[in-house]
Amino acid sequence: MSTISRDEVARVAGLARIDLRPDEVDRLAGELDVIVESIARVSQVATADVPATSHPIPLTNVFRDDVPQQALSQQDVLAAAPEQEDGRFLVPQILGEE
């Protein structure tokens, strides 16, 4: 039985700003279903004494000293800006809240 609905795929795609065609929504609903089921099977095996893995490398506390390095120039930063004004990126009117 499918646990991932077409609606859920469409909603998550919307949140991620991914424009999907109806046939892609169908296909992805099926594929995501397989992935979710596989993870559910792993979850059954995992017990409370097995910590969830978010990082495969056993490293912690990788820190940098608080020392400034050369920043990009304003010119370089704005080189790829479609539009600019007064050293800043110009973007379309933003609807909604500030």
Binding site: G14, H55, N61, D66, L72, Q74, V77
Partner: protein, 503 residues
């Protein structure tokens, strides 16, 4: 749902008599590190736009973040000062949303594993009462860039035609401090909210983790308010007023929301859970966008950053190095200076504590330091409508001024003229005395000339004084002071006048 006009308010006293307010406050503080949270771009206020970025803070493809160790230390300092537990291990997470000021399309934050949690802080209210605020968590994250809305009215988004984005601020380290629901404050809720944010600001400064300047946005508060019918009733629906940027606004926001929500509830409507904006000019909040899917940030662990696991030794080392907290310092200084409770409160509320401490350190008596900062300087600051601390005079200069008075070089009246000079940028007090020629006339010869002239001009007064009535002698002294342009020591003049008249 009926929209209730913002002008529909229940009188505050009436609202808090019938409803019990519950608050929740989120405070963001920008850390005063030299570089950003995840890259080595230098941070300095007021730089040219887009000159403090790296590929990391711009979210360019392939750029990899590295955590600023000093920012982690500052976050731990804040956590410890707020009596929090420090996590044995915690992770960063991606908070995904699309907005032009977030160049990566996600904010690197912490989600289910904040670096600090389960704390509390005692907040002192203006009358000396203490209110305990419980802290749920304090987590590390990064600031967003700065949008400037162009077109439309005065930088407001409504009617804007386009926006300009500066990414200098994107990636500056932030710590966000979240309270548990603040209950039981009752009618004093607005005051508690204000005092809480002020207490945090003082702590940030004492810890030296941020300049904590409200007017620069170093400290920003999101204020959640809800009402319920009584302390036993379930929590009501809350609103969140974003980016309230002054202590006074925090207090006014809470007060306004209590009056507004009471009106909504009285009308039989339900409070809409929404983000609102505070308007300093009109003193009201207005709704922002009603969130539909915006709350779904699809957090997940940041794969590009390894966990932060502060060793217990490091945490204890940081704890041992914490400075004296502001409340303890206030108590110590009040004891040292012998100020009455009310005097001390006035000093604190005027922002004069550091100034007086430094002035006393410069050799002035506590009473003398208070006299200047809470008297003449407070008056002038108020006149100029600027904070006391931004007056163009240093505690060392006030200490010098007091020394000049104590040494008899100048009198109180001249001291005010010397202060004029110091504030006008003419140099230190001694230099102003010299350049303006303000020294007290202590040369008896010069004084006697002026006295003789005054005596000659007012023979009737002289006669009265000779007759045993010393009252009118003030007229002579006044004339001498006038003749010497106030630069004479009045006490010495009196002695000399009486001597001269033969009394």
């Amino acid at each position: 749902m009926t929209a209730v006009p913002t002008t529909d308010l229940v009188a505050y006293d009436d609202a808090v008599r019938r409803y019990d307010p519950v608050l929740g406050i989120e405070v963001h503080v920008e850390l005063g590190t030299r570089t950003k949270m995840f890259c080595a771009a230098e941070v300095e206020f007021g730089a040219e736009p887009n000159t403090q970025t790296t590929p990391v803070s711009l979210g360019l493809p392939g750029a990899l973040p590295v955590v600023n160790g000093t920012a982690v230390e500052y976050a731990i300092r804040i956590g410890l000062a707020l009596n929090c537990q420090i996590a044995e291990s915690c992770r960063f997470a991606r908070k995904n949303y699309f907005y032009p000021d977030v160049p990566k399309n996600f904010q690197t934050s912490q989600y289910d594993e904040p670096i600090a949690y389960d704390g509390w802080i005692d907040v002192e209210l203006e009358d000396g009462e203490t209110f305990r605020v419980e802290i749920e968590r304090a987590h590390m994250e990064e600031d967003a860039g700065k949008n400037t809305h162009v077109g439309g009215t005065a930088g407001r988004i409504h009617g804007a035609e386009y926006s300009l984005v500066d990414y200098n601020r994107a990636g500056i380290p932030l710590v966000e401090i979240v309270t548990r629901p603040i209950e039981g404050a009752g009618e004093r809720a607005p005051e508690v909210a204000r005092a809480y944010v002020q207490t945090l600001r003082d702590i940030f400064r004492a810890l030296d983790v941020s300049e904590a300047r409200m007017e620069r946005g170093n400290v920003r508060a999101d204020v959640n308010v809800s009402l319920r019918t009584g302390p036993e009733a379930p929590l009501g629906t809350r609103t969140e007023t974003k980016n309230v940027n002054s202590f006074r606004s925090v207090e006014r926001t809470v007060r306004h929301e209590i009056s507004r929500q009471a009106a909504v509830l009285d009308a039989g409507d339900t409070v809409v859970q929404e983000t609102r904006h505070w308007h300093e000019d009109t003193g009201v909040t207005t709704p922002g966008r009603v969130k539909s899917d915006a709350e779904d940030y699809r957090y997940f662990p940041e794969p590009d950053l390894v966990p932060v696991a502060p060793s217990r030794d490091w945490v204890e080392e940081i704890r041992a190095g914490l400075p004296e907290m502001p409340a303890a310092r206030r108590r110590r200084l009040q004891g040292d200076w012998g100020y009455a409770d009310a005097e001390m409160r006035d000093v604190v509320n005027a922002g004069a504590l550091d100034l007086i401490e430094a002035t006393v350190a410069g050799g002035t008596t506590p009473a003398g330091a208070r006299k200047w900062w809470m008297g003449e300087l407070a008056r002038r600051a108020k006149q100029a409508d600027v904070p006391l601390e931004s007056m163009a005079v240093t505690p060392a200069q006030i200490a010098e001024l007091e020394q000049l008075i104590a040494g008899g070089k100048i009198n109180d009246k001249l001291a005010r003229q010397v202060l004029d000079g110091v504030l006008a940028g003419e140099g230190d007090p001694a230099a102003v005395v010299q350049s303006r020629g303000l020294e007290v006339v202590s040369d008896d010869g010069a004084l006697l000339t002026a006295i003789d002239e005054a005596l000659a001009a007012q023979p009737d007064v002289v006669a009265k004084v000779r007759g045993g009535n010393q009252g009118p002698v003030g007229a002579i002294i006044g004339a001498v002071m006038k003749a010497t342009k106030g630069q004479a020591d009045a006490k010495r003049v009196r002695e000399l006048v009486l001597e001269r008249i033969g009394q």
